[in-house]
Symmetry: C2
Subunit: 383 residues, 2 copies
């Protein structure tokens, strides 16, 4: 009995140790660290080990993936602690120092989750798709413009492909690419790695050279804001009436609908699908990454009423839209799978051809969207 | 006696209150805040009021300008505190939560002082020089390149003036503009506002349209790094042998020396002066903002030995360099005034014409350098 108990205790200790206490000791500084910083680190299991000097603090936690992990204080005043293994890809996180939720001073900062804050990269099995490689590189430019609709200065980022600078008169097709809720126009060319993805795809001739425009999906008329409450979005008007004409004026674009694509992630998928269906004369390609316009509903879609009947004539839509593309991570939470599933069912019922892609092992996060762009961009402007 | 004491106490309280306790209550959210954040705030005296929720913390400080200001806890767990009045312009700062030095979650983040961290803007009397105005705007592009010298990927930022996108064949002069120590290539087009400054100067025809290239002044050969210790800088070779040819290839530049300027701040002033004097065939304009190559010395300069005798033939230098420009803030600490003063004395002794500018009421900080660029850029490429 005594021996059995001992075995039980050893087994239990072993189990706890494996699950919570003894991470594999192959931690390396994260690629998203500030220059010269050793912490945070990531190990081969995808655990994050954070560290911060806080000699007078009583309690410090690593807050990642919605879970708070207790950190412990060393004799020199440094707190250290690890998370459970995280999904591969990019995650937002923060530290909690005696109740203050703060960025980790070790990392670079990214806009997402409604704030500029820490991000960390758990290296992905297919990270070579998005890596900085020895191939010709395009450039990402910040473009400032005054919106008459919002009566405010706005900015967008524009990716131009490697040969654009040659100024040989070549004109390029354009992809309008949108972020999700609580994110902004900085995301796609930073944690989204859209520029590096296209550099790699263009170098390997998997995608045709294209311009990508990344704008801010939040746009409101001042008179609507002044009314109080949640103002209606003016983004569709800003994009269609201000941004597209500006881009076609300022860049060497091909400006017919067969050379213009639109895509977005999450809220951006919802927005861009509405914009597409209201302006089929302007876009021939659609990409919805982790979202559709029936979100958050998962009921069967009534095509008579959905988006004012835009999908009711399936054959007409099927003919007009050259690539209708949907992507989703296999670990996305409710209601994304159900909502996108109901939308796909509608497409099937209406005989509208579409591509459906699943990102293996990723949730409602950037690796799902990087992979979606990687797949989607290969299908654009080839018909 | 009792009355005198009471008067004394009241006087003393009044004095402390005026100096430390009763700021003018006209605080407004800082223009460098994250979207939607109320704190930090700045008042008309230039005081910074910070606030952070840290219900379990024992001690929270606002750390700005080398001084720590105690913050106090409200009943709802928020800490609030103010600094003394700060110089107008941009300052780096941080919060101290129970010994943890962390960015303020209320601000945007900037690279400087060796880290990505909080910055705050005390509105300047002449801020219209650098403001986003309703004028044509150039674009800032991020350019990635592989350096054979450092055997690493590097990036620079390139400002192209408003009409550059017209691609009408117009070629432009180029200013190479460098950051200071513990800063990087992101500074000039962010807290430095170089792009907005040039947009405004070009719109008012005070400066000619030009390209500005902002690279990273830290560059080392891998074999030098591997030796240990402080490696010699390879920045001069990277700039001259790699960056300039790349820019002249990728952009519509005028590539003769009379259409190429170089300038830098602090460490960048020191670096660019050396580069200038080693490559007078490549540059005709120099700008040194808060720095010179004799830094940190303030001894009389021996032109026989200084920079290998580069300034010894004053007449030849005077003829070659079309604008030799030096700027300094009136509140700069030792040894900047003395060191730049010794350098100016040498220029005078050698009969080398130069422009000397003083930024009123600013120290070794970004408002000095914004104003320096504003003045300097007006003199470029006009001969």
């Amino acid at each position: 009995m005594k021996n059995l108990l001992a075995i039980g205790v050893i087994f239990l200790m072993g189990f706890i140790g494996f699950a919570q206490v003894n991470p594999v000791e192959d931690f390396k500084p994260s690629e998203t660290n500030q220059p010269g910083r050793e912490y945070p680190k990531v190990n081969s299991e995808g655990r994050v080990r954070a560290s911060i000097s806080a000699p007078e603090a009583q309690k410090v936690q690593l807050d990642i993936g919605g879970v708070q992990y207790e950190m412990t204080k060393n004799t020199n005043g440094f707190w250290v602690g690890e998370s459970a293994p995280q999904d591969e890809g990019f995650h937002y996180y923060q530290l909690n120092v005696d109740g203050a939720l703060v960025p980790d001073p070790g990392t670079k900062y990214y806009y997402g989750a409604g704030r500029w804050g820490s991000g960390i990269e758990i290296p992905a099995s297919d990270s070579e798709k998005f890596e900085l490689k020895d191939v010709p590189h395009g450039t990402v430019s910040e473009k400032l413009y005054f919106s008459n609709i919002t009566q405010a200065w706005r900015r967008c980022f524009v990716y131009t492909p490697p040969d654009y600078g040659k100024a040989d008169g070549t004109r390029y097709p354009v992809l309008y690419l949108q972020h999700g809720s609580f994110e902004d126009q900085t995301g796609w060319a930073s944690q989204g790695k859209a520029n590096l993805t296209l550099d790699n795809l263009i170098a390997s001739k998997k995608a045709v050279p294209m311009i990508i425009v990344m704008d801010n999906g939040y746009a409101y008329r001042p008179e609507d804001v002044n009314k109080g409450g949640r103002p209606p979005s003016a983004f569709e008007e800003v994009l269609v009436n201000e941004v597209i004409p500006m881009i076609d004026e300022a860049y060497r674009t091909k400006s017919d609908r067969e050379n213009r694509a639109i895509a977005g992630l999450s809220m951006g998928a919802n927005q861009t699908m509405r914009i597409l269906m209201n302006h089929l004369d302007k876009f021939a390609f659609y990409g919805g990454f982790s979202g559709t316009s029936n979100y958050p509903k998962s009921d069967k879609i009534d095509t008579k009423t959905f988006l004012n009947g835009a999908f009711d004539d399936g054959n007409a839509i099927d003919e007009k839209i050259k690539v209708f593309w949907l992507g989703l991570g296999t670990k996305e939470p409710d209601p994304f799978p159900e909502s996108v599933g109901a939308f796909r069912q509608m497409l099937n019922d209406q005989d509208i051809q579409h591509v459906y892609y699943e990102s293996d092992g990723t949730a409602h996060e950037w690796l799902t969207w990087r992979r979606s762009l990687y797949e989607y961009a290969q299908l654009l402007f080839k018909n």
